[in-house]
């Protein structure tokens, strides 16, 4: 017989209470882990998108805020305000490659899908796309669609199918090979067709710019700003501001999860205080047979710790399952659509261990007061309790 055996016997004897207390901490930790998993994968995906963008600089409409800059990475709509003349002046600077893009949305089966209007040949060279099936655009104003790999898979698009965008029926000419970026979930049409369909005139939403000499990036920012009345951000600035937004969202979600964990901690306090009250006589018996105050304290604290450990393990498993199943639902939201296919449902082993440790720590802190209450009972008041 040792303290560990005693603790296990104590927590398993009231199964109903064990289950409900565990549920509290499990739900708290599961929500914490879910937000951590989804938030973590969102950040990873943004980094991947920024790198897949292939640009050092992005020219966005004047006065774009950080949230609008996210659209460059998510493929969400951006107002088309940069003229083709301005694009020409940027190209004329020299030492850089500039590709204009119109970003819009369409719907397939009532689900929103990003549409990008691109200069077909230039963009293919810029991105290094490869065609998986069918063919790429033959000309700069061909009325056809080339679909990203995942959007084609998601909606079962095949070469020869027809899509209606803004009332115009366009054939699917080809499907790109997977790129691992948001391009996979985008429909591409020639820039001229996009400008016509979305009534953008000769304007574009943003211009992706790749400079030949990366060390002179800041110099190019100044030059572009001199040539056009638009905002220019470097890829690093954009990544930083986007990650900043995501970080704030993550912290908010984690605070909500922390409230759930806190509520679970009070559940443990309640369970252990009830146990300390119900088991007064038992505490007296233990004291009569030689248990010291610190033995009683240890028994109660370990019981709390066990709740924390079991709840932590179940919470991590639950959180990973929820984040896996939640990812496709989250992906329906434009802002969080990155999550799709971004490996959510996985968590760093350190974070798994950390979540369990966090759960145990919360439970131990929650158990301190009940353990102290139990330990400070005198043997006589405990043993005389009916």
């Amino acid at each position: 017989m040792n303290i560990g055996n005693l603790v296990v016997r104590n927590i398993t004897r009231r199964r109903g209470r064990l289950v409900f207390t565990l549920l509290g901490i499990t739900i708290g930790i599961a929500s914490f882990v879910t937000f951590l998993a989804l938030g973590g994968s969102l950040k990873d995906e943004i980094r991947r998108e920024a790198s897949a963008l292939g640009a050092n600089l992005v020219v966005t409409p004047k006065g774009s805020c950080a949230y609008e800059q996210v659209s460059v990475l998510t493929g969400d709509q951006l107002p088309a305000t940069i003229t083709m003349a301005e694009v020409g002046r940027i190209k004329a600077i020299g030492g850089l490659t500039a590709v204009p893009v119109v970003t819009e949305k369409t719907a397939i089966k009532n689900r929103p899908v990003p549409v990008a209007g691109v200069l077909t040949a230039e963009m293919r060279a810029f991105k290094g796309w490869e065609v998986g099936s069918g063919a790429y655009f033959a000309g700069a104003d061909e009325e056809a669609v080339v679909a990203g790999a995942s959007v084609a898979e998601q909606f079962g698009l095949k070469v020869g199918d027809e899509l209606t965008i803004r009332g115009m029926r366009l054939p699917v000419k080809g499907v790109l090979k997977e790129t691992g970026s948001k391009d996979d979930s985008t429909l591409f049409i020639p820039l001229a067709v996009a400008q016509e369909l979305f009534k953008a005139g000769d304007k574009v939403s943003f211009v992706a710019v790749r400079v030949a000499d990366v060390s002179r990036t800041d110099e190019y920012v100044t030059k572009i700003k001199e040539e056009v009345n638009a905002g220019v951000v470097t890829d690093r600035q954009m990544l930083k501001s986007v990650l900043g937004i995501v970080g704030t969202v993550n912290v908010t979600l984690q605070l909500i999860a922390a409230v759930a964990v806190l509520a679970a901690a009070f559940g443990i306090v309640n369970t252990m205080l009830t146990a300390a009250y119900e088991r007064r006589r038992e505490i007296g018996i233990l004291q009569a047979i030689g248990a010291r105050q610190r033995d009683i304290f240890t028994v109660f604290l370990l019981e709390s710790g066990c709740y924390g450990f079991m709840g932590g393990v179940l919470g991590v498993i639950g959180g990973l399952l929820v984040s896996t199943f939640a990812a496709p639902l989250v992906s329906q939201n434009a802002f969080t659509s990155f999550v799709k296919g971004s490996g959510s449902g996985t968590l760093d082993p350190k974070l798994i261990g950390g979540s369990i440790l966090f759960s145990v720590a919360v439970a131990l802190i929650a158990g301190l007061y009940p353990a102290w209450r139990a330990a400070r009972l005198t043997p006589v008041e405990a043993i005389n309790h009916d």
Partner: protein, 237 residues
């Protein structure tokens, strides 16, 4: 009394304060020789159980002293008192007070756990002790699976777990039928024969009759202490 294992002197115990003040003991002085079979008798509410709690280090006196083996225990820390209870004193209570979620063997072993006895030795001794009280076949039974007499014998085995010099029993047969009472009394007599100091708080005249020393507590004081026959004659009178 030169070889007294337990001595109390002018022992007072007061509960509450002001109008709610209750004097459970009012200057109890007594000495119990080593190896004695002692019955503490007296009317309910006159301080018998309080005296037992103070002797056993379960409570502290308001004033006065308690000596176990010549050493004053009033000033011991709660941790030292716990050690004293683990090593020198075994308790048996009226309502058995076994841990309901443990088996008979584990109940006995639990008492050794707090004295730092290793697991294997705990198991061996628990089995021996349960054999000794005739419950070798009930090692894995939980208290609710045992009769009252069997539960009390488990409690006796637990009290003996750390081979204490003193056994303090509070109405050990108070909750048993006559057959179970006989079993338990037989076990207690055996322990006394083995040299244990047995102190029983009881209302049961049969137990008092078998004791070598009877101490009568009345109004929180020792009203009489002496041989069983003379004490019981006085009570009967």
């Amino acid at each position: 009394m030169t070889d007294a294992i337990i001595q109390t002197e002018n022992l007072f115990k007061t509960y509450g304060s002001g109008a709610a003040e209750t004097h459970a003991l009012r200057g109890a002085t007594l000495a119990i020789p080593r190896g004695a079979f002692c019955a503490i008798i007296g009317p309910s509410g006159h301080g018998k159980s309080t005296l037992m709690h103070l002797i056993g280090g379960l409570d502290r006196p308001t004033s006065g002293s308690v000596r176990i083996d010549g050493a004053e225990i009033g000033g011991l820390s709660s941790s030292r008192l716990a050690r004293l209870r683990a090593e020198k004193i075994g308790f048996v209570f009226q309502f058995f007070n076994l841990l309901g979620n443990l088996t008979a063997e584990e109940n006995v072993a639990a008492a050794m756990m707090f004295a730092g006895v290793p697991d294997k030795a705990q198991k061996e001794r628990a089995r021996q002790l349960l054999e000794l009280v005739g419950l070798g076949h009930k090692l894995d039974s939980r208290p609710k699976e045992l009769s009252g007499g069997q539960q009390q014998r488990v409690a006796i085995a637990r009290a003996l777990a750390n081979d204490p010099d003193i056994l303090l029993m509070d109405e050990p047969t108070g909750n048993l039928d006559s057959e179970a009472e006989a079993e338990v009394l037989a076990a207690i007599r055996d322990l006394h024969r083995q040299g244990k100091t047995v102190i029983i708080v009881t209302h049961n005249p049969e137990i008092a009759r078998q004791a070598e020393l009877v101490i009568e507590i009345r109004d929180g004081r020792v009203a009489r202490a002496g041989h069983a026959a003379s004490a019981l004659e006085r009570i009967a009178a």
